[in-house]
Symmetry: C2
Subunit: 236 residues, 2 copies
DNA sequence: GAGTGGTCTAGACCACGAA
DNA sequence: TCGTGGTCTAGACCACTCC
C-alpha cells in the first residue's frame, strides 16, 4: 500500500477513535510532515484523498478540519455498492431469487456496451436492512470479466468477491435515479402496495481500466430509503 | 487563475469541441507537458481535477481516456445548485412564492448550526424546467453571510449572486435524500395529486471555510426527476 | 507580520499494461 | 521490454487568515 494511503488511513482512524467532530482542527502540515516523516506533497496528497472521501476540509491560511455530518440512519449512496464498507452500522442480508447465465436484454447490452450474444450472469435478489426489505435488485455481470458466481457469493457480497477473490478493482460508476410508482410484482416483493412510491437507481459499474462489468437496476423500498451524499465543489 | 485549472479547462474544452467520446484516448503525459510547458506534477494535477469532475479516467500503463455517459435528459444531482453551470441544455425558471427575513425554525437552526435568534432569509419558490414544474424549494440563508437578497435575484440564481456579486466560494455540501408521498399543498404547487411519489432532498451548503450558509429543502416533481450521479471509487 | 495551506518545479524511481 | 502513468522528494515561492 502506498504511503499517502497509509497516512490517510491513520488520520481517518485517529479521527474516529478520538471521536473528533465537525470543525475540530487537525495538527498543522509541518507537524504531520515530521510525525509521519514524509515530504509536504505526500501529506497534502493524503489530505486531498480524505477531502474527496468527505472526511476533512482544508482552509488555506487557517488549518485542516474534520468534516462529519450529524444525521444517523442514512445510507451513503456512493458507498452503497462496491464502494466503502461502512455499512456495518446496518444489518444487511440478501435473498437470491435467481442466478443464471443468459444473453443480456437489449437494455443491459447497451449499458454494458457489449453485443447481445455475449454471456452474462443475471442475478435477481431482495436485500434486507435491519430485517426490513430494502430493495429489489437485478444485476447483469459480464462473464468474460466475472467468470464465476454462485448463490453463496450472491447472498453475501458480489463486490467483495470481485475485489478479494478475483483481484479486480472497481474504478467509477454512472448512476441514474428516477422516482416512480411500484408495479404489482415489485410491491409484492417489497411488501408494499401497488402505486406506492419507488426510487429506481440504474448503475453502470466500470473497472479502473474503464471496462463496464456490471449493470444493475435497483428498486428501493421508500420506507427504508434514506440516502446521504457528500458533495465537493470542484467547479469553482 | 491557477495553471492546473487553466490547463484542465483547456483540456475539457478540447474534449467538448472535438466531440470526443467515452474511451477516446488523450495525448500522453509527456506530450501534454511540453504542449503546456509545465512540469509533470502540474499536468497530473489538472488530470486529477478532471477525473474528480468525471470527465476523464486515467489508467496506469495505458493512457488517459475520456469519460462521457450517453444518456440525455438527466440532471446532475451534484451540479444542481451552486455547483457547475451546464444546465444550459435545460430551460430553467423560478417563481418566487415568498422572500422574507425571519427567525429560523428549530430544524433550520440545527442544520445551519446557529441560534434560533439569528436572522435568516427564508425563500420559497417553484422551479420550472422546460415549462414543467420541477420542484418546490424552501431555503434558509444566514443573513450574517448573505446580507442582501431580492426577488429578482431569487428568480434568477441565488448561487450565481453569492459567488459573483458577494465573492463567496461554495466548498462542500451534505445532501439527504428521501422518497415519500406528496401532501395536498405540495401537490397543488407541483400540479400533481396528493399521495403521488415525491423525492425530497435536504441540503446543507458550506463555504470553503466550512461555514454552513444555506439549508434547503426541495420536493421534486417525480415526472421530471431524472438524476445523474458520477461516482469515483476512492475506497480501494 | 506570523502562521498556515497551496502551487509549481526537476528529477529519481516505481508499477502497471500491452505486445 | 518498453511505453505510460503514479509516487515521492526538497525546496522556492505564493495566497489566504487572523491577530
Amino acid at each position: 500500500m502506498l504511503k499517502y494511503q497509509l497516512i490517510a488511513n491513520d488520520i481517518e482512524k485517529y479521527i474516529v477513535t478520538h471521536e473528533l467532530q465537525q470543525g475540530d482542527k487537525l495538527p498543522v502540515l509541518e507537524t504531520l510532515m515530521s510525525q509521519f516523516a514524509v515530504s509536504k506533497s505526500t501529506i497534502i496528497k493524503s489530505l486531498d484523498l480524505l477531502e474527496r472521501k468527505g472526511i476533512v476540509y482544508q482552509v488555506r491560511g487557517s488549518g485542516i478540519f474534520v468534516r462529519r455530518h450529524r444525521r444517523k440512519g442514512y445510507i451513503s449512496l456512493l458507498s452503497n455498492q462496491g464502494f466503502k464498507k461502512d455499512l456495518e452500522e446496518f444489518q444487511l442480508a440478501s435473498e437470491v431469487l435467481m442466478l443464471d447465465t443468459i444473453k443480456p436484454s437489449e437494455e443491459a447490452a447497451l449499458n454494458l456496451n457489449i453485443e447481445q450474444e455475449e454471456d452474462v450472469f443475471y442475478l435477481k435478489r431482495i436485500r434486507y436492512i435491519n430485517g426490513q426489505t430494502l430493495c429489489l435488485e437485478e444485476s447483469y455481470y459480464r462473464k468474460t470479466i466475472i467468470p464465476y458466481l454462485n448463490t453463496e457469493i450472491a447472498a453475501d457480497s458480489v463486490f467483495k468477491f470481485i475485489s478479494e477473490a478475483l483481484g479486480l478493482k472497481v474504478g467509477f460508476s454512472d448512476m441514474y435515479l428516477q422516482v416512480g410508482k411500484l408495479n404489482k410484482t415489485e410491491a409484492a416483493h417489497l411488501g408494499l402496495k401497488q402505486d406506492d412510491p419507488a426510487l429506481r437507481v440504474e448503475t453502470v459499474f466500470h473497472l479502473t481500466n474503464g471496462q463496464p462489468f456490471d449493470f444493475s437496476k435497483i428498486t428501493y423500498n421508500y420506507m427504508q430509503s434514506q440516502f446521504f451524499i457528500q458533495a465537493n465543489n470542484y467547479y469553482g
